[in-house]
Symmetry: C2
Subunit: 549 residues, 2 copies
């Protein structure tokens, strides 16, 4: 029997990647990457509003074509026995919640509208803060069970907040919108030609769209109180199927098949978020926390459906089957990780990553006397507050850029620890951490700091393209090559031999620093009002001890 393959398509914030994966062993035999040509590194910005982040959907379709063609070419070059008929399916993951308005034919409104509201509202668009607060307040008042699944706070990054804000600021655009579609659903719909009646991925619907199998999408009475027009969009959603990524969203159209040189009719898996299928590609299973570390961070865990789960305050979402069928998925995340470092290198222009990482590697834990909060893009989990901002503390007149760079990395690690402590506090044990994403792959300083701060060994996904691999796993299930995600993962995924183990000396210092981080976290992010008057003094003491030690 000849080898079989699937393609995983991974739509990130700045680029898309196609990956061709062999089903018998997970070998990645071809890949293609495409940087979105529109905007600033793929993001459409508005100089008068730093909260706005949009995207051009044309970049996805052009990107899908270019990357699949490039991947196929590379696969043929790498393996003479490979031919494109051996590709049995396509899986899709994207950023999210990244919804866009479309017309009745499923066409992007931005094809005919230049208003930025007609484009894709990228996950990190934070224009809808006021609307998120409204949704939160209303849900607490009349639909507490809705919001309990979202850690008690609805985020400005999510679907209904964005729709509501669009209704307020761009009524002309909204009048032309027949539907708002997450890009994770729009892309499979485009590839399979099912553009007017879509299958909605439960990943976005459940984690961002207030959908739950027990109640469906939010009800009209609830939406009416937010804005009369919202009901229209919910009505459209209710006519459609909600499914997990182990389901076919449709099948490749003859037009796309010809363009790509693939067989028409191969299944396209229902889309899911990058971090969720990334968790699949990293080999997620009960007891494993998968950390996808990129511009932002997404923490994913799964727990068997048969065991009931408490609602965990501050967690982004607990949803059935958003990652693996027959499992709950738990999602947490940090709004800025790679982006926080990129702020330092690209906006402050305090050095480049290579040089700063090298210099920061020479520092010991606590040696800089610095402490930072990782809130430059707000706090997604546990505080779920977009109106928080960054903080750097402890600098003297000789503080160097690499010291701040390291303090920013440490801040994200402390933020990660706050999340882990919260999850464990609610009875979900974390036995191992598997990291994936560009930073996990490339930056050993970063990974070691995480091991030291979290006090747990950290493994790295064997694949450097975990998200695309997870999409390929979904496609492998959808095309029938494997009976379950677990069966496909056992063959197609794994971790690298090298793991990061906590350094006891550093961990001891980070225990002390974490207490101070938590003090600042609670002082600026909660109403607990812990005193901060000794923080600067204690940082100096930690610094002195670190220099002596």
């Amino acid at each position: 029997m000849s080898e079989q393959y699937t393609i995983g398509l991974d739509f990130g914030t700045s680029s898309v990647r196609a990956l061709i994966v062999r089903l018998s062993d997970g070998a990645e035999i071809g890949t293609g990457i495409f940087d979105y040509p529109h905007g600033e590194a793929g993001v459409l910005l508005d100089s008068s509003d730093p909260h706005l982040a949009r995207q051009h959907p044309q970049d996805y379709l052009v990107g899908a074509e270019k990357t699949i063609l490039a991947a196929l070419e590379e696969a043929k070059h790498n393996d003479a026995t490979f031919s494109s008929e051996m590709v049995l399916g396509i899986g899709v993951d994207t950023t999210g919640s990244s919804p866009m308005p479309v017309d009745a034919q499923g066409r992007a409104l931005c094809e005919s509208e230049s208003d930025l509201a007609a484009f894709v509202w990228l996950w990190k668009d934070h224009t809808s803060t006021a609307e998120a607060a409204e949704i939160t307040a209303l849900a607490h008042k009349i639909r507490p069970h809705y919001i309990a699944k979202y850690g008690g706070v609805y985020s400005s990054e999510w679907y209904w907040a964005k729709l509501l804000h669009a209704l307020r600021v761009a009524p002309m655009v909204m009048a032309k919108a027949a539907d708002w579609v997450e890009i994770q659903d729009w892309i499979p719909a485009q590839l399979s030609g099912k553009t007017t009646s879509l299958t909605r991925g439960i990943c976005a619907a459940g984690h961002k769209g207030l959908y739950h199998p027990s109640w469906g999408f939010p009800d009209d009475e609830f939406l009416e109180q937010l804005h009369p027009e919202l009901k229209r969009f919910a009505a459209k959603l209710r006519t459609e199927k909600v499914a997990h990524a182990g389901t076919a969203a449709g099948h490749l159209t003859p037009e796309w098949a010809e363009k790509l040189g693939l067989q028409a009719g191969i299944p396209i898996a229902v889309g899911a978020f990058d971090a969720h299928l990334g968790a699949v590609g990293a080999g997620i299973t009960t007891g494993t926390l998968v950390k996808a570390i990129g511009t932002s961070t997404c923490d994913i865990m799964v727990a068997p459906l048969e065991k009931s789960l408490p609602d965990i305050p501050g967690l982004c979402g607990i949803t059935p089957e958003a990652v693996i069928p027959n499992h709950y998925s738990l999602e947490a995340g940090q709004s800025a990780v790679g982006d926080l470092l990129a702020w330092w290198t690209d906006w402050v222009k305090a050095g480049d990553h290579t040089e700063l990482t090298r210099a920061a590697s020479l520092l010991k834990a606590g040696e800089s006397g610095l402490l930072a909060l990782d809130w430059n893009n707000g706090n997604r989990t546990i505080l779920v507050n977009q109106n928080l901002s960054g903080l750097i503390l402890g600098q003297n007149l000789y503080t160097r850029p690499e010291e701040i760079y390291r303090a920013l990395i440490e801040a994200t690690a402390f933020g990660a620890r706050v999340i882990i402590e919260r999850i464990e506090e609610y009875g979900v044990p974390i036995e191992r951490i598997v990291a994936c994403g560009g930073i996990a792959e490339k930056n050993s300083l970063f990974m070691q700091i995480y091991a030291d701060v979290l006090g747990k060994p950290i493994f790295v996904s064997r694949s450097a393209q975990t998200c695309a691999l997870g999409s390929a796993v979904a496609a492998a299930v959808v095309c029938g090559a494997y009976p379950s995600f677990e069966a496909a993962q056992a063959v197609m995924t794994g971790v690298k031999e090298t793991a990061y183990h906590p350094n006891p000396d550093s961990s001891k210092v980070y225990e002390r620093l974490f207490v101070l981080y938590k003090t600042l976290h609670d002082a600026f992010g909660t109403d607990k009002n812990p005193p901060v008057s000794t923080v600067m003094q204690e940082l100096l003491e930690i610094r002195e001890d670190s220099r002596r030690g």
Copy 2:
């Protein structure tokens, strides 16, 4: 009658300047500058201890010679009628407290010792924090009247803390030290050859050395409890005269006269701190606050001796005749102002001053959403705590370096306002502010922010070389050309026509930001524990209002 001139010598942190001033109108007809060749911009650093800052005293003597020769040359070039016999005296100002150990002949110990403890302990050397705390504690216990004149806290920057620390860490050096001399006293002593029995300037003695006319230098019982060796240094001090800058420390030796081409025997004024004689050069008088804005900032005020003054908590010092005879001088200061901006440009390398100032000028008050504390070098007045550190808050992923640059300027202005409010609270009204120093001269953005934050018009000293001019004024009094400082100032000093007036819109925004600054100030710097949980949210609101307004 031919014109008469004096020379002002101004020894700064990185360079020395000589200025030749015409007594009839204050015209500055010649100047010379010399950058100290030793160390990093004149400062000897120790890479293992960021608190250490020393200086090589040879740089002062070489600098005095080179700058006076250059100034004389320039004066002759500028004015054909000028000749060096018309120079009637020399005044000296320096940084401080910057003491150094000398041998029995008044020679710098570093001529024969390479230990950094044998050099000048520059004002911004902060190695003596623990010792300053000891002195503070002991004074509160057994000599409360000593410490009341220092705002209740003795600083690590000051004379006795530095001696005590040197006794602890460098006993071998201290065994060879016959005396510890402030450079404001050592330089006049060198020029006049009176190197073994010096006249001590009341400026350093009173503001840093625990000297007061009513009790003299600190008593043996007090010093004994700190360290038995300290008594030896106090005994030497007690054999000598303490005098104000309107007194001759001695007269130019024939050797120096020949080297400089000046007349032997012209008087050398008793030295004083740069900011103090800078206040004289800026035209200080009762009701005027003179702000010398440089690497750090010094605020000087005077009040008539006949009116009694309360002790003001947190103020660096209240001393009779340290600035002008027959007046108290009040001193306050901020530990990092120009240095704070230089940290951003030179250490973080986030841009250069010109480019950052231009970009920051385009921003409106509150528009960046940022707030900073100006404590990268601790807080000298009101908190008097060297163990405080810097803080920057409110940044997002698009915060630009010029926004932080502006926030740092604003932080120093808020710090200045805390000081002014404290002084006025204790019944010393401030009617006008005169700024001097490089930043006042060159950076109109900086000055406008100060006017807006302080809510008072700010004048700029007519002379760009206020300190050197003040030294020349002192020399004019000492040589008998004028009967008093007031009489000399009336002719030799003044302010520029252009003044900075508060912009009401900016002032309104800064009123709101100052409330938040004060919240952070009290949260991190005092035990008051004000809640900070709304600070980030309020900054966002101010930002939104500023962008709309």
